[in-house]
Symmetry: C2
Subunit: 516 residues, 2 copies
């Protein structure tokens, strides 16, 4: 028997309940709260700490740990460089950087790789000088590329354990309720949906928010709740507004892109999936984006509406939503300021995390409910495998993104691409890097013809019945080669510089060092 | 080297990355998805299963496991009884029932305790015949009582591991995006905020939703996201509308309650916390509820507004919000239909889970940002300890609820109670069951006087400066005894029938068997 602080005799244990701990008048016995007063009427509780260095020290970040970042600030992001600089200043080495994506602005990471601060990288994509040097063999350990869904699931399942997440947020209150915009302050760093960051916040061991906007409590509704946040650092700026977001994505006026978009919309119309309540996702490429324009005309003509639009969201989708053609939006990432403002304005423009969007686990994801997706490609091969990661010179300059996730989930996955780009054919015998397996790709639409995956005889029949002319993908490849000839193979070295994983973490392809 | 299904040579392992698995063309290698097609264009994915028995079998529920329930359907709940009946039919024994609360309608559980289906119970409260029999020694193992915040934290921290959560939801789509109301169907089972259920959904090993409203995908925004749901069972009815919710909570017209409310509002006004941007929570008791009326008058007079109101939400709070007196609402549980409808109507009426509301972990909770809370009590003692669980006969007939959470979090915790109830004094030397420790209680307001906890000299000074008359709590106790005399002690047996835990899981008091 122990007496608790109120004089109650508490048995050491009770059958069926196990051992008991007596109340000791502390706020939270046996935790970091042990020292805190049970009640604190003096000050509001706050998670704001003095500076980034302090936050890193409090987080317990040590050599060999994994830190994570989101890419919602795109080419305006200051966070990755700031944190690596601080880690370097603290003498921390051998970090794994698990970013949702990396881009041109992250060139300073080259030095942090050379000086041993960064040992390993996981990301969806890589661009600019960092990508170039990695393609030429900068790192000892290959980059692990994951799709947005694959990354989310690897985090949710514990395969990828994040020790400390560093998340830039356009607004937060003093307790960590954070949003991708600000209702109270300036919106210079607004990025809208924080879909990738939300997964890190949920699962990382420690979460540090960095923000230029500390707003009054409670900053609700919020994308990241206080329950997931450990420390907050206030900064003058978390990104360059010009690089984070621009106004509205414009429709293409390129005649070739418009031809492709029109043809893709015709395929969608004839596919059997174009019915009242259908759902779709379109990317940001010129053709992919323009599809929505033709789709709207067809929806009016047929008198139908979409149940939801998914994905990275653009002003075009917002317009369709506000005009009543799309009932709901599920948004993991905003592609323009119009979309950002819509997340503030429209109740049914709902922000979802990357796990909800595209996770491949047994619990399913929104992509599994998708009827149709229109996707771009750098290369596609005769087996319908798609490359969205490496250029025709073999250098990394793209991102896996949600490509394999939406392709596998959607009932109809359409790839839109020009037959040739400059002097380079789009269709190859074998793409240089497989990101999305052809067994999940249904149709290729080019400005010079359409090819359907022979595995989809059902689709071939429906398109034929609608009078849509189809060719074999080999036929389209021959057309391309007639214009620009057969491309020379890229010269690769032995070293593996990238491991491309499929949604479930298995290896779908390897990227080798470019030898020239 | 292994070749993957696309012919890529994948090394067994890579230095720095460990072993690699080759892509095998499966949707999710090595999981339940192993057998699923990588792409399924035929049917929409769905989590709806045939019936409750099937869902239980699929969940893997076995003898000795822990199942959980929420109490948002209050005395109209059908779920607990249905599930225990199904478990009994399947011959499952020795379950731990971890409910957020239990009430009169759960009387059938008495039989399931007797026949061995239920071995142990965790709950915030207990009422009716089940409570009566348990108070008289029905169970072998004592009930574990947890506050709303304590329960949430014990679940989040893994101390309380839920194997299968059975969550009744007023609407869900076929993938599990669920809400406490329906935007598309009938709202007969609408309960508004699902704050307690949200914690179970997040942390339970398996989650089964039960609903009478399957609505079109996506049921967004949603309180429970699809990523947390395993199976869905469609039922004719999940509760009795009359027991779940009623229209609007009415103000008291009881003169004694109004006197107490008025005095409590005066204490709040003079406390030093009544400034622009203050925050508060009021309960549903007559006096506690009526406080909002007087508070509004004082806000108008002083020209200030509240930043947020927290807690179980009533029509009174909704009205203050819609009139602009309360900027934001944080809602864990709706107390009336007006509040339910407000969650649908008002963007800043934000539903939060119990962990966000009141969790005592290092990550903090909304209660820690609370300036003032007004709470009821069955009994309070000269050390300001409060009992909200057992009646004056020692029988369990209440609930711990958020009482200890808000008391500890708020800068000012006011207890409102009549000096006597019938022939029973409210103030005792020692309450029969300590639920909230006096060290977190600041003021007692009765219709016959006010007592401030001597630990709060700062408060005593401010109230005195405002001309508020105060007495000692011993003085108030003497007044009560002058009216009704000193109560006879309750006769308890040896057997422990309940263990009352504090927010951090330590034992604050024990409840013994009532011997008569």
């Amino acid at each position: 028997m122990n007496k608790n602080i109120l004089g109650v005799e508490v048995p050491e244990s009770i059958n069926g309940l196990g051992s008991l701990r007596p109340f000791d008048g502390k706020r939270f016995s046996g935790t970091e709260h042990e020292q805190a007063k049970i009640k604190n009427p003096e000050l509001p509780e706050s998670k704001i700490v003095k500076d980034l260095i302090t936050a890193i020290q409090l987080s317990g970040l040590k050599d060999g740990m994994t830190i994570s970042f989101h890419h919602h600030f795109r080419n305006g992001d200051y966070i990755v460089n700031l944190v690596l600089e601080a880690a370097a200043a603290l003498g921390i080495k051998n970090l794994t950087v698990a970013a949702s994506s990396l881009t041109d602005i992250h060139t300073p990471m080259v030095d942090h790789i050379k000086n041993g601060v960064v040992y390993r990288i996981e990301t969806s994509g890589l661009r600019g000088e960092l990508a170039n040097q990695i393609s030429h063999g900068l790192m000892e350990v290959p980059i692990v590329f994951r799709s947005h869904g694959g990354r989310a699931y690897s985090i949710a399942s514990g395969e990828l354990k994040i020790d400390v997440a560093f998340l830039g947020v356009p607004s937060t209150d003093l307790y960590g309720n954070a949003n991708g915009f600000s209702r109270d302050g300036d919106n210079s760093s607004a990025c809208g949906a924080l879909g990738y960051a939300m997964v890190d916040a949920k699962y990382a061991e420690k979460v540090i928010l960095l923000s230029n906007n500390i707003v009054p409590f409670p900053n609700t509704p919020c994308m990241i709740p206080q329950t997931e946040v450990d420390y907050i650092v206030e900064l003058e700026a978390i990104g360059d507004p010009k690089g984070i977001m621009s106004g509205a994505t414009r429709y293409s006026t390129n005649p070739k892109e418009l031809m492709i978009a029109k043809a893709a919309a015709e395929v969608m119309e004839a596919s059997g999936y174009f019915k009242d309540g259908f759902s779709f996702q379109t990317g940001t490429g010129g053709s992919s984006l323009a599809v929505t324009r033709f789709l709207k005309e067809k929806m009016i003509a047929k008198g139908i509406k979409a149940s939801f639009a998914l994905g990275g969201i653009t002003s075009q989708i917002v317009k369709l939503h506000e005009e009543g053609f799309v009932k709901k939006i599920l948004d993991v990432q905003c592609f323009d300021l119009d979309a950002v403002e819509s997340t503030l304005r429209n109740e049914f423009h709902h922000v979802v995390d990357a796990h909800f969007y595209a996770g491949p686990g047994i619990e399913g994801a929104a992509v599994d409910q998708l009827d149709m997706v229109v996707l771009s490609a750098l290369e596609i091969d005769v087996n319908f495998n798609v490359n969205v990661l490496t250029g025709s010179d073999g250098v990394i300059r793209g991102a896996v993104g949600g490509h394999p996730d939406t392709s596998a989930g959607a009932k109809l996955a359409i790839i839109v691409a020009p037959l040739v780009r400059g002097r380079i054919p789009t269709i190859l015998d074998r793409v240089n890097t497989i990101c999305t397996p052809g067994m999940t790709v249904d149709v290729l639409v080019t400005e010079q013809g359409i090819a359907v995956n022979p595995a989809r005889q059902d689709l071939i029949e429906r398109l034929a019945a609608a009078g849509i002319k189809m060719e074999t993908i080999e036929g389209l490849k021959a057309k391309a080669e007639k214009i620009v000839g057969h491309p020379n193979p890229i010269e690769y070295g032995e070293k593996v510089v990238g491991v491309v994983t499929y949604r479930d973490g298995t290896v779908i392809d390897l990227i080798h060092e470019v030898s020239r």
